[in-house]
């Protein structure tokens, strides 16, 4: 059994994550229009996709340009299964398995190719699949685009109440964690300035969480009545996002993750130590394919699925952009990168004159990041942020810098 103090310790260590998750959970109450919820849903979905690409590229060091295949396969399968009347959970599981399988097939086909050749070959396979799907559908005289029939879980209000309970649990645990942090620091710290600044900081956070939670409860009726589908889709994406993020974090910290990094850093040495590189790369392909399957499965419920959106090489490009922007191999970085990319795309993209400009800005941003911050946002923070944090701490302690 886990004792209460151990649980508190776990909460304290993961405070930022708990806080952030509860912030996301109360977001629908803070949003001023349903469109903002839609934007955030898209951001979460592409965050999952970028996460899967980061496992592949950042952890295992496989540069694949065919990563849109598991995404598209999952999107089509989910659309098909849901329209046939299967429950969502089955569609999701099938999508995950088939996403992993499709990535494995690509990996096995391309296993002889190395480096650049692997990139070209995977791109070619993905493009072949896209054009084939389009042409076969045209040949059979059917339209290749599918409008997904939403599952009953998305339409029911019970799902919303479940999310409400989850949100309150998270908010309460966030409050407990911040109280615990402040109280334990009272014993350890003698510096009053630092302690009081921290206390004020946590009080503001807690107040904000409580405010959001109350707002959520107060707005409950309007949220359920007017925008059930939007809000439920958002919560579904959020829950799956949190689950996949936790899963990715656990995988990366496991022995498997260490071997991936060894293979990435020095394949020859890893092979000399007795690791079969291909097998570990296939593990990475399967796991990232499964996670991309989750993203594709959710994606199919937000828009009409057609070959150009589901299998477009620009999907891979978007994930790559997010990974480079956020910092390869940092997990949270690519998620943030994907959020930035999607936010720019959706907010600027909703204005017709600026939709092309937003992509141009992204391209420029990407080039600048590669040239100036080769480690991305989070990577640079990990490398260079230490100095900044030390400086802040010294300032708080009132010493000379």
């Amino acid at each position: 059994m886990v004792t209460i103090s151990e649980m508190l310790e776990i909460l304290r260590k993961n405070f930022s994550m708990v806080f952030f998750a509860s912030l996301l959970f109360i977001f629908p109450a803070l949003a001023t229009s349903p469109y903002q919820v839609v934007i955030l849903t898209n951001m979460l979905i592409w965050g999952i996709f970028a996460l899967s690409y980061d496992i592949l590229l950042g952890q295992a060091g496989v540069l694949s340009f065919g990563h849109t295949v598991p995404f598209g396969v999952a999107a089509y399968l989910t659309a098909f299964l849901l329209t046939q009347g299967f429950p969502f959970i089955i569609a999701l599981l099938v999508s995950i398995v088939m996403g992993a399988m499709s990535n494995l097939v690509i990996g096995l086909l391309c296993s002889k190719a190395k480096g650049v050749y692997y990139a070209i070959l995977s791109l070619a396979l993905a493009e072949t699949l896209r054009i084939s799907v389009e042409n076969i559908a045209n040949y059979m005289g059917t339209s290749p685009s599918v409008l997904t029939k939403l599952p009953p879980i998305i339409k029911s209000e019970y799902f919303f109440y479940l999310d409400l309970i989850l949100a309150i649990i998270l908010v309460v645990s966030g409050i407990i964690a911040s109280l615990y942090i402040v109280l334990t620091r009272v014993k350890n710290l003698k510096n009053r300035i630092e302690l009081s600044i921290r206390a004020v900081f946590y009080i503001i956070l807690v107040m904000f969480l409580i405010y959001g939670a109350f707002l959520l409860i107060a707005k409950m009726d309007t949220l359920v009545e007017r925008t059930t589908i939007t809000v439920n889709l958002f919560y579904l994406s959020l829950i799956l996002f949190l689950v996949t993020y936790l899963f990715a974090k656990i995988i990366v910290r496991s022995p498997l993750g260490s071997v991936w990094r060894a293979v990435r850093e020095n394949p020859e040495r890893a092979e000399a130590l007795g690791y079969n590189i291909l097998v570990y790369q296939l593990y990475a392909l399967a796991i990232s394919g499964g996670i991309a399957g989750v993203a594709g499965s959710l994606f199919s419920m937000t828009t009409i699925v057609n070959p150009t959106t589901a299998f477009s090489p620009f999907n891979t490009l978007m994930a790559l952009l997010a990974v480079i922007l956020g910092g390869t191999g940092t997990l949270i970085g690519p998620v943030m990168g994907a959020w930035i990319v999607q936010y720019l795309k959706l907010t600027l993209g909703s204005i017709p004159q600026l939709s092309i400009l937003s992509m141009a800005i992204l391209g420029l941003l990407y080039i600048i990041i590669i040239l100036v911050f080769p480690y991305g946002i989070m990577g640079t923070w990990y490398y260079k942020g230490v100095k900044v944090r030390r400086m802040i701490r010294r300032m708080l302690k009132g010493r000379k810098i």
């Binding site: 050749y117 070619a124 590669i370």
Partner: protein, 292 residues
Amino acid sequence: MAIVITPGILLSAILDGLAYGMVIFLIASGLAIIFGLMDILNFAHATFFMLGAYITIHFVTYIMKDFILAILITTIIGFGLGILVEVVLLRPLYGKPASQMLLTLGLMLLLLQVVTLFWPAGLVFPIHSYIFVGTIDLIGTRIYVYRLVIILIGFGIMLLLDLFLTKTTFGAKIRAGTENRELAQVFGINIKLIFTFAFALGTAMAFFGGAIASPWLNATVEIGTNFTLLSFVVVVIGGMKSHRGTFFSSILIGIIHQLSAYFLPAITLVIDLLIMIVVLLIKPEGIFGSKE
């Protein structure tokens, strides 16, 4: 839909294929030289080609109705842009080929957007003189004169490039850098200069190709994205590093592409990609390439 294969249609398809192959060659040869020398897979190369087509048509439409001058200016702009990109963007990343490749990918994205920003609807070649739209009769089929001109130009460029790379000192230096970069440096070759020049040469050739192809293909965003894949296919089949292999595989892929476009239009690009996939799986060094 039954398609009657007559000798005339076959001839027309093959000539179209040859011309198409020449256009691909003008893109892919630069790609192969850059990859061989600098180890960069330049994703932006076909977008340079597209930009060349846009600039040429823009020049001919709005500034001066002189096609030869337009080609010249486009090529010079291409050379300048090549130097600029190499010095400003790629030079800071020497020694990191993966980053360089990702950078060219960003450049591709940027150029595609810039082009749609300036010319949202694409451009159509405006001049309708005999050389561009005229036809001649060959065994009962009408063949566009301009396709024959493209074929001639393609062979000419191949000849010039081959002479340049095999007979001049500068070409020898490029080949030396391709064979062994460190050894070339040891022998006193300024490898940075060679890199810049080779990249600018490749870019200029892509721009030149865009200028030459613009009366035929006009200027759209699609030619940028389509030729990216096609030029990769050609370079992979040609053995990645040799311009001669690229020449033969360009002709091969051009003819196959046009034959399938004439007779099996639904799977045109798929056939090209499948050929490349099969070649990569069976003989990864390419049909015309040699094992190192």
